[in-house]
Amino acid sequence: MTITKNKEGTRMTLALEGRLDTTTAPQLEAEVKTSLYDVTELVLDLEMLEYISSAGLRVILAAQKQMNKQNSPMVVMNANETVMEVFELTGFTDILTIQ
């Protein structure tokens, strides 16, 4: 998986490309742990994300919790049909702000 980070002031976009699964989730986890502390708006751009598993969902959930703690919004964008299906089946559509 490739993570492309784009930060404009305190607004950060993480564009994910490839597969967010058991082997790649730790990559995103590390990014979330180190980069969110001064972010006031987080955008996860999933346009190029082909697949997500529960391991990836847990990291996205951790990012959401972190942003909630910071009273800052997090938005998930451009998820494809396969990824959206996973969000729907796991109830993530109720937890995340999906655009």
Partner: protein, 365 residues
């Protein structure tokens, strides 16, 4: 009539028959079905000693034909064989092809052999081709002539080795119809065939051969409608199967995912279905089961895909103490798996060395 005991045939690089045992009674019509390369033709060729078995015994009417002292030529007279490639003599016309055996081996007069030959040609619908040469006949006609030639030797048993495999599809029916008539007349027959409907209609018993053995033996209803064993079911339902085993914590996750993808693409499954299969594998095998596995373990995943109705079924069998991840596993993984499946259940595995089994049917796209 025929008794086969622990028959084995080995070649230097391959063992097509590992251990075949069977009893065949008079008048039985046995169809032998199964994937290519599983020893079906080798079994027939061993029965009439066109191949010498490596070990095991074959008895015909109580006589061991595998005994070196046995007068093979006499026993062979009881048994005729119809080959895939007809094996007619091209330099003889059809009636001469039919007469040769009875005249030279059975000592019949040419007149008797000719009269009987014409009767047989009448029976297979080729009376008017008696003077034609094999090259003048279609594939279906050649095979019918070959059947008449076999019957001219008055065999008690006829072995058919894929009698329609070399034929144009339009000619299969005429040959099958001749064999069907023979079956009605009570001749003992063993037929290696890929024609499933024919096997179902004509046989008194079906042998499903796989992995060098008679993997399942039963009535046509049993084999075609209620196969007891896994590989029989997969063959009969024409299922495409993918299997993978994890037996160490150093498994190749990326490699397995890529194999699932290749399997899906090969059988033109949709991308969504491929992702669903990968999800099931990851959530159950990797997330739910693998962390609980200790030193010696096996997790066996099998996908069965039915191209006709797109049914995709997955079974995951694993070793270790009873553990139902659907009841005790991680909520997120299980929520996802349950959402992706139409049916899912956990139970005891019935295949060694496994103790647990999860079976599921994927939701259609």
């Amino acid at each position: 009539m025929i008794s086969i005991r622990h028959l084995r045939k080995e070649y230097p690089n391959v063992t097509p028959l590992k251990d075949v045992s069977a009893e065949i009674g008079q008048g039985e019509v046995i169809s032998i079905i199964g994937p290519s390369g599983t020893g079906k033709s080798t079994l027939l060729r061993c029965l009439n000693l066109l191949e010498t078995p490596t070990s095991g015994e074959i008895f015909i009417d109580g006589q061991a034909i595998t005994d070196p002292k046995c007068k093979v030529h006499l026993l062979r007279r009881k048994m005729g064989m119809v080959f895939q490639s007809f094996n007619l003599f091209n330099h003889m016309n059809i009636i001469e092809n039919i007469m040769t055996g009875p005249v030279s081996l059975l000592g019949h007069s040419r007149q008797d052999a000719c009269d009987r030959g014409m009767e047989l040609l009448q029976m297979v619908g080729l009376r008017d081709k008696a003077l034609a040469f094999p090259d003048e006949l279609s594939g279906g006609q050649k095979q019918r002539a070959a059947i008449a030639r076999t019957l001219a030797m008055d065999p008690e048993i006829v072995l058919f080795d894929e009698p329609t495999s070399a034929l144009d599809p339009t000619m299969v029916g005429e040959v099958l119809s001749v064999i069907r008539n023979l079956a009605r007349q009570g001749l003992t027959m063993m037929i290696v065939t890929h024609e499933m409907k024919f096997a179902r209609d004509v046989s008194t018993r079906v042998f499903y051969m796989d992995q060098g053995e008679i993997y399942e033996d039963g009535t046509p209803e049993q084999i075609f409608d209620n196969p007891r064993r896994e590989r029989t079911r997969q063959f009969i339902q024409r299922l495409k199967v993918f299997e993978t085993v994890i037996d160490s914590h150093g498994y190749d996750f990326i490699g397995i995912n890529s194999q699932i993808e290749q399997f899906g693409r090969k059988h033109e499954m949709g991308q969504k279905t491929i992702c669903r299969m990968q999800s099931i594998f990851e959530e159950l095998c990797i997330q739910a089961l693998l962390p609980r596995m200790e030193k010696e373990f096996q997790i066996h995943t099998m996908v069965e895909y039915n191209e006709e109705n797109n049914d995709t079924r997955i079974s995951i069998r694993y070793t270790g103490p009873a553990f139902d991840p659907l009841a005790e596993g991680d909520d997120l993984s299980i929520l996802l798996v349950k959402g992706l499946c139409e049916e899912i259940s956990y139970g005891k595995a019935h295949t060694q060395p496994f103790t647990n089994e999860l079976t599921m049917k994927l939701r259609l796209e």
